[in-house]
């Protein structure tokens, strides 16, 4: 908070954006070309040396992708601006991730160093995977963590080296045909993380993945599968950036979490794509008995984000939680939310969402709470608050709450407001300028949620929010 109060020169909004807004020319060894057809899928399978069942899985998914209509009967018509035949679906310098930064190709290493990834790894992470376009350039886990039996590798390596665990859960939490974009991901997925935490192992420090899009007209389709065995605990963090291009870029991930009995998974996302990225992500977790899955989700970047992290509570006393912060600036639409499926007795869930719309930005909360028939003791609490900064800012809230039976309880509350003139006046009287006052008010609005993020991220988040607020008033 002190950074805001300093009356020194304010950093410009461009400085922030430039953190991710750069690119180096890279010679790709493997390039599936532009457009998508069966041959593209065969090319990806050949490069990745996929087993036969994955090839079949991809082709089946491709057929489902073609069959499924765009969900524009409820979603933004901006989706129609995605031209699937103009996208490059696979680009890499090889499928093998390096274990040390020294072995990472020079341009990629420079990219990640500029983004501060190796430094963060040394400081506080238990493991890092850094994905550059289609494949991980770097993947490493601290020896001590590896010795506990924790597996942290890319999805390709996971399916090749640990097929007995991988195949059991892959595509089981999110079926291929769940939606058009999960089908697309299933057809062309590459990269992402595969994590397995053995029973009772509590990974103390977070595992981190960093996703970088470097090429123009590129589609990134990472696939992450995290399995926490009985009583295990793990926190996973992901970050992402891309340079600003003239043309739109597509990022469409599928993330599946499985928390077995008594396990805990926390999944933290700070999404800061550049404002030309379509970010259409399907994220879902399966929580077994007494397990807990928590999504902590922050969306600041992208042109259009559609993301509704879900928890299917299929075991008694399972728990789901979504903490969501969305910041929609000019030209951005953050369409985010949460889905909670209470498929067992005494399951509880909590959703807290806060969104800020600046300028012509649009923030949408879309939620689902579903209590299927004949359960008891299920509880959900949902709170959505939206803050509007300018007169033409927009916010929407579309929750759906399906309650069955008389032994469960759901409550939903939402509010929309602006920063009160009195608040701003009060702060201005005490010497803050209007921009600083607004920044402080907005930080106050999200403060209780920002604290839910790991410390390193919450500092970063506050800084990002400060910067995004620059020039938004007046």
């Amino acid at each position: 908070m002190s950074a805001i109060l300093e009356p020194t020169a304010k950093p410009q909004i461009d400085i922030d954006r430039s953190v991710g807004d750069f690119r180096y020319d890279v010679d790709y060894s493997y390039d599936a070309g532009v457009g998508l057809n069966e041959a593209t899928i065969d090319y990806i399978c050949d490069v990745k040396k996929d087993p036969a069942w994955i090839r079949e899985f991809r082709k089946d998914a491709y057929r489902k992708f073609l069959e499924k209509p765009m969900p524009t009967h409820w979603a933004s018509h901006d989706l129609d601006n995605i031209v699937f035949e103009n996208i490059r679906y696979y680009l890499s310098q090889g499928t093998q991730a390096s274990r040390t930064w020294d072995d990472v190709p020079e341009e990629m290493k420079r990219t990640f160093e500029r983004l501060g990834i190796p430094e963060q790894e040394r400081k506080y992470l238990a493991g890092v995977e850094a994905q550059f376009d289609s494949e991980a350039a770097y993947s490493n886990i601290k020896a001590a963590v590896g010795e506990q039996g924790v597996i942290f590798v890319g999805s390709t390596e996971g399916l090749q080296k640990h097929p007995e665990i991988f195949r059991k859960w892959f595509g089981k939490v999110i079926p291929t045909g769940d939606n058009k974009f999960s089908a697309l991901n299933s057809a062309v997925f590459s990269g992402g993380s595969f994590i397995y935490v053995p029973p009772g192992v509590k990974v103390k420090h977070p595992l981190q993945a960093y996703f970088r899009i470097n090429a123009q007209n590129f589609g990134q389709f990472e696939r992450t599968l995290i399995i926490a065995d009985e009583g295990a605990e793990v926190m996973y963090m992901e970050g992402c950036t891309a340079p600003k291009f003239e043309t739109a870029t597509l990022h469409s991930a599928v993330v599946e979490l499985v928390a077995l009995k008594g396990a805990k998974i926390q999944y933290v996302t700070v999404q800061n794509w550049s404002a030309n990225v379509f970010n259409l992500v399907t994220k879902r977790g399966l929580a077994h008995e007494e397990a807990e899955i928590k999504w902590i989700d922050c969306n600041i970047g992208s042109r259009l984000t559609m993301k509704y992290p879900s928890v299917v509570m299929k075991g008694r006393k399972a728990r789901g939680e979504v903490i969501s912060i969305a910041l929609a600036n000019d030209g951005q639409h953050q369409d985010t939310g949460a889905k909670m499926i209470h498929a067992a007795d005494e399951t509880t869930s909590n959703v807290v969402s806060k969104s800020i719309s600046i300028g012509s930005g649009q923030a949408t909360y879309r939620g689902l709470v579903d209590i299927p028939p004949h359960h008891r003791g299920c509880r959900n609490n949902t709170e959505c608050d939206a803050l509007l900064i300018n007169t033409h800012s927009r916010t929407d809230t579309y929750p759906t709450i399906i309650t069955r039976g008389n032994r469960n309880a759901c409550q939903h509350e939402a509010s929309v407001s602006k920063v009160s003139a009195e608040q701003i006046f009060y702060m201005q009287q005490r010497g803050l300028n209007q921009g600083q006052a607004m920044s402080l008010a907005v930080n106050g609005f999200v403060n209780d949620l920002v604290r839910e993020f790991p410390m390193e991220y919450s500092v970063e988040l506050k800084r990002l929010i400060d910067l995004e607020m620059e020039g938004s008033v007046g």
Binding site: H73, W74, P373, H374, A386, L388, I389, N390, T391, H392, S393, R394, T395, D396, T397, Y398, P399, T400, I401, I402, T403, R404, G405, N406, R407, N408, A409, C410, Q411, H412, E413, A414, S415, V416, S417, K418
Partner: protein, 424 residues
């Protein structure tokens, strides 16, 4: 099939003027060419679409028991006017206490004698919450219905009471209450929708309310169709500058009931209070959609829906608060409370907000749950059976809405209806 050649849109005995008959024929064509709702229509996402099959319904015959219906059309002790319709035909009317200049006329008469009013206000507001098709059908089939017009600065002290009866297997009725208030006018209106027998019927009703500057409307509807009736009730309220509309909709009957309520606040300082009590039991379904449409300064809207779901019944609530761009100091509130009484009961809530302006205070809430065991225990400890205790709690929830009506006679009447329906 109700769109047979004898539909009023095409028969020679149609009571309306020719110009309106032509509009009815166009509406019928529009109805027939508009596709029926599908699961992909957001406005019909959870509705039981198979309930919308109209093929069995026929035009309502002349009623057999006119005297019985008139005698049963009792509600308020004192009223300004009382109109009774049986199967779309006006069977009785009296107007003992209407002030000078106030018009209460059947629509077919009003279309001739108050043509300017009729043309300006009749279905002037398009039905946009999903049932456009059925609104067209309503217009095409219309024969009955009432125009209430209270001129500028006139206050109608006693309530106006309207009864719409349906009788006979598969009969179709099309009730319509059109209320037009001049500046600073004030009126209270209650609609009763009733079945003369337990037969399945089709009711497709529309209410259009137009409030002039500074006017006040208090409206209540008690819907008590037979338990198999397919019913549409499509309401729109257009609130003038500094005007206040308070509407309470009670849904006690019907098999599948589709309710749509629009409050349009397009003039500064308007206020709309939207209340509803819904009792779904058996396998009945009450499917309600609302829109609080704000496009003016200092306007406010306040919505509270109380749903009680018993047996294997379902309620659906989908509400939107929309604040248009460029308007300010909006205060909008929306709340739905679902009380589920059994393990098989289902309540779906979709409270939505679409806010295109920052100068607002908008909140909504939705709660769903069963009876509070502590409350039940408290009453059981005092010798009240569990069954009666549950009914008392329901009556309490419903009566909390009645308190918001500022007409004592109407409040008493509504309390009596609730007590009667719940047996408390």
């Amino acid at each position: 099939m109700i769109t047979a050649p004898e539909s009023p849109a095409v028969i020679e005995t149609n009571p309306f003027p020719h110009w309106f008959q032509r509009e009815q024929a166009a509406a019928l064509a529009d109805y027939e060419s508009t596709p029926a709702p599908t699961r992909r229509d957001e406005a019909w996402r959870f509705a039981s679409l198979k309930a919308l099959d109209l093929s069995a319904f026929v035009p309502a015959p002349e009623i057999a028991s006119e005297g019985k219906l008139i005698n049963a059309s009792t509600g308020l002790g004192d009223f300004a006017a009382r109109f009774v319709f049986g199967n779309n035909a006006l069977v009785h009317h009296e107007a003992p206490a209407l002030p000078e200049g106030v018009i209460v006329e059947p629509l077919d008469v009003a279309a001739y004698e108050h043509e300017a009013l009729f043309r300006a206000y009749f279905m002037a507001q398009p039905v946009e919450l999903g049932s456009h098709k059925y609104a067209r059908l309503h217009k095409a089939m219309l024969t009955g219905g009432v125009l209430v017009h209270v001129p500028k600065n006139v206050e109608v002290a006693l309530p106006i009471e309207l009864f719409y009866w349906v009788e006979g297997e598969n009969s179709s009725v099309f009730p319509h209450t059109l209320i037009v208030l001049g500046d600073n006018a004030k009126v209270t209106v209650i609609d009763h929708f009733k079945s003369a027998d337990g037969a399945r019927a089709f009711a497709c009703g529309i209410n259009d309310f137009h409030l002039g500057r500074g006017s006040q409307l208090t409206y209540a509807a008690v819907q008590d169709w037979s338990r198999d009736t397919l019913a549409f009730h499509l309401n729109s309220t257009l609130v003038g500058r500094d005007a206040t509309a308070t509407a309470l909709l009670a849904n006690f009957g019907g098999g599948y009931v589709r309710g749509e309520s629009l409050s349009k606040l397009a003039h500064d300082g308007g206020r709309s209070v939207m209340l509803s009590m819904n009792l779904a039991d058996g396998t009945r379904e009450i499917d309600q959609h609302t829109l609080q449409d704000h496009a003016a300064k200092h306007a406010s809207s306040d919505l509270l829906y109380q749903n009680v779901v018993d047996d294997a019944a379902r309620t659906i609530f989908a509400g939107i608060i929309r604040v248009q761009e460029g308007e300010s100091q909006t205060d909008a509130y929306q709340r739905v409370r679902n009380l589920l009484l059994t393990d098989d009961a289902i309540a779906v809530s979709m409270p939505g907000l679409e806010i295109l302006n920052d100068d607002v205070r908008c909140t909504h809430g939705a709660t769903s749950g069963g009876l509070d065991p502590d409350e039940l225990f408290y009453m059981q400890a005092r010798g009240i059976s569990k069954k009666l205790a549950a009914r008392l709690i329901v009556a309490g929830r419903f009566n909390s809405l009645v308190e918001r009506i500022d007409n004592e006679a109407l409040r008493d009447r509504l309390r009596a209806v609730i007590a009667d329906r719940l047996g408390v």
